[in-house]
């Protein structure tokens, strides 16, 4: 156990935790998106997807518990890293670099935005009263302009976060080779943009199209 702790207290150990939990969250995100694309097919398709998911019973609760643990690992390690990195430079530069990467330099802030979003999102759906069908719930929540816009902003933050994260996790795992570096960088960015755009389409449709999920 002390061996385990000392590894994951090291800088590179924490990097592996971020990369491994980030990879798990990315898989979750893709699965979550795949499920939500049923909303584009209409109310019936969407409700039937939701019904199938709930019919998994105990299994889905096990998955949820794992996901919560992964989130916790990712967030707690991120906070530890953020604090340690701040104190690694007690005196700041008078002139700071102006050409920093947008996505990489905002990781802790887009991360925090995602955390707020996560709480709101769970309250909207997971902890909501289940009086109406899932499709109606989506339409009601996302069709409400303040909430719908918040979803759009948060999802832009998520897109920025994963546009760095998808490539970054490979580098953290040690996968860096001229043979595939370009593929990883471009593939990661493209995946992030596609994922973000498809997710954002849902609140956009709910806000603008009356017939969506009807």
């Amino acid at each position: 156990m002390s061996w385990f702790l000392s590894v994951f207290q090291s800088s590179i150990g924490k990097k592996y935790i971020m990369a491994l939990s980030g990879a798990c969250l990315s898989f979750f995100l893709m699965a979550h998106l795949a499920g939500n694309t049923f909303s584009f097919l209409g109310k019936e398709a969407y409700n039937s997807y939701a019904a199938h998911l709930h019919s998994l019973g105990g299994f889905i609760h096990v998955l949820e518990a794992c996901l919560a643990l992964v989130f916790l690992a990712h967030i707690l390690t991120a906070i530890l890293l953020f604090i340690d990195n701040l104190s690694a430079r007690p005196t700041r530069y008078a002139v700071s670099a102006t050409d920093r990467s947008w996505s990489a330099s905002t990781m802790p802030y887009t991360g925090a935005l995602i955390l707020i979003f996560l709480v709101v999102h769970l309250l909207n759906f997971h902890f909501a009263s289940k009086m109406i069908s899932t499709a109606d719930q989506v339409k009601t929540v996302l069709g409400n302009p303040p909430l719908g816009f918040f979803y759009l902003v948060a999802l832009s933050g998520l897109t920025l976060h994963i546009s760095h994260g998808f490539w970054s996790l490979f580098q953290s795992f040690g996968a860096n080779h001229p043979q595939y570096n370009r593929f990883l960088q471009r593939g990661g960015l493209s995946m992030a943009v596609i994922l973000g755009a498809l997710f954002m389409l849902i609140p956009l449709l709910a806000l603008t199209t009356d017939g969506f999920l009807q």
Binding site: V7, S10, R89, V95, R100, A104, H164, Q171
Partner: protein, 253 residues
């Protein structure tokens, strides 16, 4: 030869515990053929003549190979040119009337000594933990008795280009030393001579790096951009692999 006049805002701090501040100086006419350090020499001669204390800065070879020089110029370690140490940076890269803000490398692990000089002995402490190979004394071995594939030798030599100047730490938003440690671990662990101590090296050097108070790599690549020797972050990826391999598959603790 043309002459330019610059405004210099330089960090002055008389000692580690003293309160520091920026002082502004007019450079006077500076030849564009001068190096950055020669420009500071000219300023210092004037300061000495006027009874002021000279600006303290580190330097030694002045030919880009020793790693002693280095300050942050307008937010960039070693100044605006890529793959150039401060001593090899020429004043022709600046324009007449430019203002240059010159600050020391900032990191918890590099204590400020005076003005632009920081104590980078933390790097030496990391090297002492594993940046070496142990070789038994004896007769001189023939050259090429140990076969090394050329691409491997090239990779090791690329990593060995690191002059330990600390610009990677200075440039990193998290003041991480991963590029330095990655270069040193790669350089030795790629070569046959480095194999016996390979696992111990990765573990001990990372442990020391953490203990000395360097930050954590966030894969932002600022180090690679600032490195005067163009050391690639592929060396950080190799360091990550070396460390995890040592943790998971070796007997070293």
């Amino acid at each position: 030869m043309s002459l330019i006049n610059l405004t210099l805002r330089i960090w002055r701090q008389s000692g580690p515990e003293a309160q520091g501040a920026f002082h502004t100086y007019e450079s006077g006419p500076i030849s564009t053929s001068m190096s950055f350090l020669e420009m500071l020499d000219v300023l210092n001669e004037r300061l000495i003549l006027s009874g002021e204390e000279a600006v303290a800065f580190d330097h030694d070879c002045r030919e880009g190979i020793c790693g002693m020089c280095g300050s942050v110029v307008n937010g960039k370690p070693h100044g605006p040119e890529q793959k150039t140490t401060l001593c090899q940076l020429h004043m022709r890269h600046f324009k007449d009337g430019d203002t240059l803000v010159i600050e020391p490398f900032r990191s918890r692990a590099f204590k400020l000594v005076k003005d632009l000089i920081v104590d980078r002995s933390a790097f030496d402490a990391i090297i002492a933990e594993g940046g070496y190979v142990s070789v038994n004394t004896g007769g001189t071995p023939d050259a090429n008795t140990i076969p090394i594939p050329n691409p491997t030798a090239e990779q090791a030599l690329d990593a060995a280009e690191c002059i330990g100047c600390g610009a990677c730490v200075a440039a990193c938003p998290n003041a991480s030393a991963m590029l330095f440690v990655g270069a040193k671990v790669s350089h030795l662990s790629l070569l046959p001579q480095g194999q016996p101590e390979r696992n111990q090296r990765a573990l001990a050097m990372v442990k020391k790096m953490d203990k000395l108070g360097f930050g954590n790599c966030g894969n932002e690549k600022r180090c690679e951009k600032a490195c005067p020797k163009g050391i690639s972050i592929s060396n950080i990826a190799r360091l990550n692999r070396e460390f995890m391999k040592a943790v998971l598959f070796s007997n070293e603790k």
